[in-house]
């Protein structure tokens, strides 16, 4: 029988969330508490397998007594804290963050962006037609994945996944400063000249589709990408003995991309180049 480690029992922290008593284990974030209470708080730079950089500021909430709003994804719940998620002040900042983002980058492949923009009545057009945008051509420098900076919200998730939080390849970092900051490899060169090992774990965590499989990118360009027609099948990678879980996304009997379940206790959604991209032999019908 496998022994399941239970760990040290964690104390519960009691605080007030939107006027209701909330009890969460010590160390939980306000976002954890919100989700436990069934509240919908928008997030972009937060990911289930990563420590958030709290850079997007879309999850901000009102903490009583604080001078500024607090990022729900990173601020830990403290006993006696009084938190409100839906004040005019918090909604204002969320709306502005959406407007600032949508007016500067393309959020068309960001899941939920449309819904949030409607919900918060954001009007990205109001900064005028001359508002600066991140207008860059997608970078296609290899056969596996595409970097489309016009969709990047600089959430730092890819950097963290490539760096010390998962892959330890350190192939990408943020370069430049301010509005000109971009995710890049050294000397802003092509991926093929970098330390990239093509594990695709950055694509796995990208919240906006700025990083995408070449297969998905090409199908979107051709107008044939249709998630409605796709099935997802989770299986086990056959390449080595680790036994990572793969989720095959299949459209019209062709594998179009490979993801991995984030709740896998061993791999947490991470794969290597073989599991992520090495599926062509499966559909070689000659």
């Amino acid at each position: 029988m496998t022994a399941i480690p239970l760990g040290v029992p964690r104390r519960l922290v009691e605080f007030t969330l939107d006027g209701q008593e909330a009890r969460v284990p010590e160390g939980s974030t306000i976002l954890d508490a919100c989700r436990a209470a069934g509240k919908d708080v928008p997030t972009l730079c937060e990911g289930d397998t990563l420590t958030p950089k709290n850079a997007c500021r879309i999850c901000v909430v009102d903490v009583e007594g604080a001078r500024t709003l607090a990022p729900a994804c990173s601020r830990r719940a403290e006993p006696g804290m009084v938190v409100r998620t839906d004040t005019e002040r918090a909604r204002h900042s969320r709306r502005l963050v959406l407007e600032l983002l949508a007016s500067s980058v393309d959020l068309s492949t960001t899941p939920s962006a449309d819904r949030w923009i409607k919900e918060y009545e954001a009007k990205p057009d109001r900064f005028g037609p001359d508002a600066a945008r991140v207008d860059e051509e997608p970078r296609i420098d290899n056969d596996l994945y595409v970097r489309d900076y016009g969709k990047c919200v600089l959430c730092y998730k890819c950097v963290d996944a490539c760096g010390d939080q998962w892959q330890n390849s350190f192939a990408i970092s943020v370069s430049g400063r301010g509005f000109d900051a971009r995710i890049s490899v050294e000397h802003d060169g092509p991926l093929t000249d970098s330390a990239c090992v093509y594990c695709g774990n950055c694509i796995e965590v990208c919240p906006t589709g700025a990083l995408s499989f070449k297969s998905e990118f090409d199908m979107r360009a051709a107008g044939t990408w249709d998630e409605e027609r796709q099935t997802e099948t989770t299986t086990v990678c056959a390449y080595c003995g680790v036994g990572c879980n793969l989720t095959l996304h299949v459209q019209d009997n062709e594998i179009v991309k490979v993801t991995s379940p984030h709740d896998n206790p061993v791999t947490h959604g991470n794969l290597c180049i073989k599991g992520r991209f090495g599926y062509q032999h499966v559909q070689n019908r000659d």
Partner: protein, 643 residues
């Protein structure tokens, strides 16, 4: 870490510059040629990675020597320090003073910030560019505030090149032989290998004319000597000065002279009192931080001293970059030993044995004087393993910034020292708990630290009697703009804005006064009764900030000033969080649209500015974004700009 390095090779010059800092590489694992021995053992692990904090100094070494950072040079630095090339590239591109593309060895930074713009910086820039023409080996860069506002318009020349000593020591050595402020080059500095002059040199040119700027840019080594620091202190020699008393009367290069003028009495008293009593004195004196946030210093020290985690660090924030601020420069140039003594006391009280002095990259003279002063103190046993024979060890390392306003934010400064991008961290945890290298750290501004000396020499009670009950002690103000005698003024807290401006000889037709710099706010000429205290300015709905008092007469077009402030924040935002990264851009765009509009034509954009400003204030990670809208808001609400 299994790092992949590029194939780029450094030039001999680049390799020499890096090796001068880090020493020769020990093995091929660190960038030397591969030998048989390298095949039998590997170097790496924590020991190799622990030198990451040398990244910024290494980039400086390259920039000082070559003037830019090539691919091969960056790869070599990465090999030497076991830093991933992508991260090093991210760091190199973060700082305004570095370039990852080729550029001429000489860079002329022309300040185009508030005081300098009001003094005609745009015309200066245009004239200098025409005069120099495109192909003459000088790159002209428009720079944010260079901290020379009392002598606006200002320019700074930095010429990359070889130096027998690390470049920054030159002036100190000259200062020793030729007295304070001597910057004339010694002879014997010949031509470089290729017949051109390749010695590293800096020259400050203020007030700059096109002629002087061009001359300084083409021959920085023979530029006229910068005026002595006391030229920036109109009160020099006045009785009753506490913080500025030694500026102009003490030789900044002489430790003996400093001691003859009351130096090291405070440190002796500190050793006599013991750490806990020193903290009690500072707390009782009511000292609060002078960098802008006004946090009680005693409480910060106590919190750090009480941390069980060790080692503790002391960081002196000398990254004075707030537009309009130059008090720390004057203190460091005119009385460098005072800062070293004050840092020693702060470290002793908080249980730190290592101090970092993070100095703004645009202050070559302060760097020279402090470097010299640290060396002298070390030689004389005032720094090192046994300070003053008391068995207490403390040493100071000077780190240079490289052109990033954000690095004045305390946690961004930690990241910068550690060799990461100077992006602020989210708080909590606060620095007293997890600061530099993740250890308890006390970080104080230069002026705050220097205030500790009179607290210990006068006693807390006498010090607290100066100023008002809630804002105690003397305060330095940086007065510039439309005044007859711009400079650093020392007044007890509680003097009014009007009194200060009268002292500085404010000119007629005063239109507005900017308090606290770009992150501060404007007040009207009829508000000169505002008492210059933390509580007084707060009550008046404005801020004291770092002590900037910039006067503008009615010849300066207000909308252009606001646009310059907005451009400053757009340029200086680190880009980490969305409200600041995009918000500062939208703010600048809106101010650009309405620069020539008033009334109803500007109303829509002003409403937009208010919304963006509110989100920046509420939702940005750090003080930069949170204050980026302050000055513009105050100009609209208090001055009636755009009406």
């Amino acid at each position: 870490m299994d790092l992949r390095f590029g194939d780029g090779k450094p030039t001999d010059e680049e390799r020499a510059a890096v090796d001068a800092l880090l020493g020769p590489p020990e093995s091929s694992w660190e960038g030397a040629d591969r030998s048989d021995a390298d095949l039998r053992w590997a170097r790496g692990g924590r020991e190799a990675r622990d030198r990451r904090d040398q990244l910024l100094p290494a980039l400086h070494a390259l920039n000082d020597r070559v003037g830019w950072i090539s691919e091969g040079a960056l790869d070599y630095v990465c090999r030497r320090l076991t830093v991933p090339p992508a991260e090093a590239y991210g760091v190199a591109t973060f700082y305004a003073m570095f370039s990852v593309g080729p550029r001429p060895a000489t860079v002329l930074h022309v300040c185009t910030d508030l005081a300098c713009t009001a003094a005609g910086a745009s015309e200066l820039c245009a004239a200098v560019e025409t005069r120099l023409g495109p192909e003459n080996g000088v790159k002209v860069e428009r720079s944010p505030c260079l901290g020379l506002c009392e002598r606006a318009p200002a320019a700074l020349v930095i010429r990359a090149g070889d130096s027998a000593r690390p470049a920054f020591e030159d002036e100190a050595v000259q200062a020793e032989s030729g007295g304070p402020g001597a910057a004339a080059p010694g002879d014997g500095k010949g031509k470089g290998r290729r017949g051109r002059n390749t010695l590293h040199a800096t020259a400050v040119c203020a007030p700059a004319t096109p002629d002087r700027a061009v001359t300084a840019a083409t021959a920085p080594e023979s530029a006229p000597t910068e005026p002595a620091p006391e030229a920036a202190v109109p009160q020099t020699g006045a009785p009753g000065l506490i913080l500025l008393s030694r500026i102009g009367t003490v030789d900044p290069a002489s430790l003996d002279d400093y001691r003859a003028h009351g130096g090291y009495i405070a440190l002796r008293r500190a050793f006599a009192l013991g750490p806990a009593a020193v903290i009690r004195e500072v707390t009782d004196a009511g000292l609060v931080g002078r960098g802008g946030a006004a946090f009680p210093t005693g409480r910060k020290w106590q919190a750090t001293a009480a941390q069980p985690d060790h080692p503790h660090y002391l960081v002196c924030n000398a990254d004075e970059s707030e537009p309009g601020t130059f008090k720390d420069r004057v203190l460091m140039e005119g009385d460098p030993y005072a800062l070293i003594e004050a840092m020693t006391i702060a470290a002793y009280a908080t249980g730190a044995h290592r101090g970092y002095l993070y100095l703004r990259g645009e202050y070559p003279r302060a760097l020279a004087r402090l470097t010299h002063a640290v060396e002298q103190s070390r030689t004389r046993g005032l720094l090192g393993d046994d300070v003053l024979g008391q068995g207490y060890a403390f040493d100071i390392e000077i780190r240079r910034g490289a052109g990033a306003y954000i690095c004045g934010e305390e946690t961004a400064l930690f990241n910068s020292i550690e060799g990461h991008r100077g992006e602020p961290r989210s708080k909590p945890p606060f620095p007293v708990e997890k600061g530099l290298f993740g250890k308890p750290t006390v970080e104080n501004n230069v002026e705050t630290l220097v205030n500790v000396l009179p607290i210990l020499t006068m006693g807390a009670e006498a010090y607290a009697a100066i100023g008002t009950p809630t804002s105690t002690g003397p305060k330095l103000f940086c007065v510039s703009g439309s005044v007859a005698r711009p400079g650093v003024y020392e007044l007890p807290f509680g003097a009014t804005l009007g009194e200060l401006l009268t002292l500085a000889g404010v000119r007629d037709n005063l239109r507005a006064v900017l308090l606290g710099g770009a992150a501060g706010g404007f007040v009207r000429p009829d508000e000169l009764g505002i008492p210059l205290t933390f509580e007084g300015t707060r009550e008046a709905g404005t801020t004291l900030g770092s002590g900037v008092v910039m006067a503008f007469d009615d010849t300066v077009p207000l909308p252009r000033l606001l646009l310059r402030i907005a451009e400053f924040f757009r340029d200086e935002s680190c880009g980490q969080c969305v409200p600041c990264r995009v918000g500062t851009v939208r703010q600048q765009e809106a101010l650009h649209r309405i620069v020539d509009r008033t009334g109803a034509a500007a109303a829509d954009d002003i409403a937009l500015l208010r919304e963006v400003g509110r989100a920046m204030r509420d939702a940005s990670i750090c003080g930069l974004g949170q204050t980026a809208w302050n000055a513009v808001e105050s100009a609209i609400d208090r001055l009636g700009a755009y009406q």
